[in-house]
């Protein structure tokens, strides 16, 4: 009996050795959320490609550090790993939104270094296939006529990115009574879309990647995509801008690294990330997951993020999410 257990364990050891040998130099990618979400996807996908295209010698180890909507990982990196050159952390528009709304307990974007974004998930507003709402105008007018008649569903809490998209569009349409807008935040975009197809909510607000399958199956119809131009592959969906509502909202996906690393190390990460962005594997991954190409890597990315944060902060204040 013991011998058999030992043999099986030995098999495990052999299998495991490959992962763990020389783990000291291996890159660690922190996904500041539980497995299964967007940050986890970023870490696992980028980590996988980094290894496949030979940018790192060891497979990237993904650590899930859920807490405070990314705040726990942020403070951990700032306080305890500030000079670790083998550490990358997944980031997205959600990181910027939370920094803008001061949801990380007073921490600011300049306490880390944002390396870059290598893809973006365009914001969308969708309705069930049989909905009477045919265009963005229908939706805005319906809310104007009776705000109680439409419930929006999204994958973020009230005041989060999905909610802001709706409020921005309504504001662009001249509707200012933000408090009367009915919004429920669910545990993710897929949940929100299920509730919308089920008829419990009328409009779903989310990211393109969340609705691709449902668009193809014909269960939902997109009212608008919140990009500057129509998205390649989804040319049938009109932008909000061409319908007269000047709103652009994309959920970029990228990385940050600790503040204290050397400029060379930072540049190394920027180069590696750029190589991932240029790889076939990443293009495939983007196509499969409904991401639009969106590459901003290196020195000026930090400024761009700061701009995004400032804009989000202003918007949140205007809308009343923060005082």
């Amino acid at each position: 009996m013991k011998a058999r257990l030992f043999k099986a364990l030995a098999t495990g050891v052999v299998l495991g050795l490959a992962t763990a040998s020389g783990a000291s130099a291996a890159t660690e990618c922190i996904a500041p959320a539980n497995p299964g979400g967007g940050w986890d996807f970023t870490c696992r996908q980028i980590g996988k490609i980094l290894f496949e295209i030979g940018q790192v010698d060891e497979p990237v180890q993904v650590t899930n550090m859920a807490g405070g909507g990314g705040g726990l990982a942020f403070s951990y990196v700032v306080n305890e790993r500030n000079d670790d050159e083998n550490l990358i952390v997944a980031a997205s528009q959600a990181t910027a939104t939370r920094l803008a709304q001061n949801a990380y307990g007073g921490m600011t974007s300049d306490q880390v270094r944002f390396v870059g974004a290598i893809g973006a998930d365009p914001g969308v507003l969708v309705v069930a296939a049989d909905s009477p709402l045919k265009s963005l105008k229908d939706m805005v007018e319906a809310v104007k006529a009776d705000p109680g008649s439409i419930t929006f569903a999204g994958g973020s809490a009230a005041g989060g990115f999905d909610h802001l998209k709706v409020l921005q569009v309504l504001k662009a349409g001249g509707f200012d009574d933000i408090r009367s807008v009915k919004y429920i935040g669910l545990d993710g975009g897929a949940d929100a879309i299920t509730q919308t197809i089920g008829g419990f909510t009328q409009v779903m607000t989310g990211d393109m990647s969340e609705i691709v399958g449902f668009l193809k199956s014909g269960d939902v119809r997109a009212l608008a995509v919140l990009t500057e131009e129509r998205v390649p592959g989804f040319e049938q969906i009109p932008t909000a801008r061409e319908q007269g509502y000047d709103v652009v909202a994309v959920n970029w996906r990228g990385l940050y690294v600790p503040k204290g690393i050397s400029d060379e190390a930072f540049q190394k990460w920027a180069d590696r990330l750029a190589n991932v962005a240029a790889s076939e594997q990443w293009k495939e991954a983007m196509a499969a997951n409904g991401l639009a190409p969106f590459t901003k890597v290196g020195g000026d990315f930090q400024e761009w993020v700061d701009g995004v944060i400032a804009a989000t902060e202003e918007l949140s204040r205007e809308i009343g999410v923060i005082q």
């Binding site: 364990l9 495990g12 050891v13 299998l15 495991g16 050795l17 992962t19 763990a20 783990a23 660690e28 180890q61 650590t63 009230a158 005041g159 933000i178 408090r179 009367s180 807008v181 009915k182 919004y183 009343g320 999410v321």
Partner: protein, 146 residues
């Protein structure tokens, strides 16, 4: 009898504090008829009622341990708390050997066996977690000489 009465009272006080802090919660700026407070207040009220029931009709006194056992339990709690703090800065092997050894000694006071248990478990589990399961554990402190 006494235990249930005291505990019931503690529950009532705790529940009241919980309800009080629920009233401090910021309400939402958006349409949300139920709000952040309602559910915690309901839960706190249920707990308070249950606490009152325990005060009014307590169960028979549980069979509590005596002096020396309390001391051993206290030591065990302290060891576990210390272990929680030590795990990251000191690495896995050393704190585990210590903590496992002490816990083992508390269950069965034979120093040799406890020491062997501690060392065996710390090395064995380290190998299991590190190599069979691939968890990112550190054996020794980050800046350990050598």
């Amino acid at each position: 009898m006494r235990t249930d009465r005291i505990f019931g009272l503690a529950v009532v006080l705790g529940a009241l504090a919980y309800i009080a802090s629920a009233f401090q919660l910021q309400t939402s700026f958006l349409s949300d008829p139920v709000g952040s407070r309602t559910f915690p207040i309901i839960v706190g009220s249920v707990a308070a009622v249950c606490g009152l029931v325990m005060v009014v009709s307590p169960d028979p006194e549980p069979d509590w341990p005596h002096g020396r056992t309390w001391a051993r339990l206290g030591i065990a709690v302290l060891v576990l708390v210390g272990y929680a703090y030590a795990l990251r800065p000191w690495g896995f092997v050393l704190p585990t050997a210590l903590a496992a050894g002490i816990i083992s000694y508390q269950i069965n006071p034979r120093p040799m066996a406890a020491a062997l248990t501690g060392i065996g478990l710390s090395v064995g589990l380290y190998l299991l977690f590190k190599y069979a399961l691939g968890l990112g554990l550190m054996a020794l402190p980050r800046d350990f000489p050598g």
